[in-house]
Symmetry: C2
Subunit: 208 residues, 2 copies
Amino acid sequence: MQDIESIGEDLPLLEGIRTCRHIRRLKPDPVPDALIRKVCEAGTFAPSGGNRQPWIFVAVTDAELRRFIGERYRTHFLEYIAPAQEAAKDPSYPEVKRRNMRAAIYLAEHMSEVPVQLFVAGWKRRGAPQVQALFPAIQNILLACRAVGLGASLTTLHLRFADEVDPRLGLAPDTPSCAMIPIGWPLGHYGRPPRRSVDQVLFFNRVS
Amino acid sequence: MQDIESIGEDLPLLEGIRTCRHIRRLKPDPVPDALIRKVCEAGTFAPSGGNRQPWIFVAVTDAELRRFIGERYRTHFLEYIAPAQEAAKDPSYPEVKRRNMRAAIYLAEHMSEVPVQLFVAGWKRRGAPQVQALFPAIQNILLACRAVGLGASLTTLHLRFADEVDPRLGLAPDTPSCAMIPIGWPLGHYGRPPRRSVDQVLFFNRVS
């Protein structure tokens, strides 16, 4: 592997943005801590109100802790996805959604073996997490993973059992976990994700 | 100017992330609609739950509408910043915060002349805007502006008078505006924004 400082420095920004598909099929191989540090550093360059930088990143790499979180994730995810699985039996169910569902189920089934379960937590302000800063930081991390060749995706499903996770990560109630980014070397491929044309969602001066 | 398709395609992703400082001093010169389309297209590649893509972008370029919004922004911003201005008279007030405040005041004073006031609105789900999708899209747009050489920043201050803005943009209550990105050619310079070290906010397995 290249040294950590130079890895990923060449990928053009706009190309990276256009091909930052969620990668939910990941190898169990370990990821160097220094590479996790590099992608989290990209997160710290996100904007935040008053430059408060309200983020905390907890990278879970310990096998036992990953198994604990992975088992609960699997249980809650399969419960969550059951209605959609039922709906997908209908032949008219869109194939692109069916593919995404299969990848998400694969991730849930293998969450315990994902080498890095990265949690993004944040300091509350006026009683609520400052998601306006956390989600730009998360997007920076996803893009940085794309640049260095790591697969990643974004999920908030762990919120269903965050009361069991946060105390184990040493996160107090004033800094709750808000999102989870499972990270590992990709089995799947990067590529342009399916999106509506910008011309359907961009208007000048007035929505028409 | 280069043609729109090739402009900004060379900037490396990680370098762009590290130097995407907010630019609040902008020239009044117009920005081509096609360039606004290009940076908003970058926004559409953000992830969203169920790939719902709940975003709507409204680029305000009409001079009269910009003046209406600019005047209200100025009034509300100066009211909002007054306590901090008072606090900044204390010589111990951090100089970096004082600089940011000056830039934000400059933006408020000149908001009417900013060539593009880009509003990001979103479809509600379960009664609330889907900010977990909108803020990654916003971050993509800020990064894309950095890539093509446009100055931009993120503000939500317009929420104080959104009831006057949204109807004028044709935004119904089920698609409220959530953020505003003033965009123009930069007077200021890109550069590494001041941030705490990642080592202060990244933990492995447990916050210590």
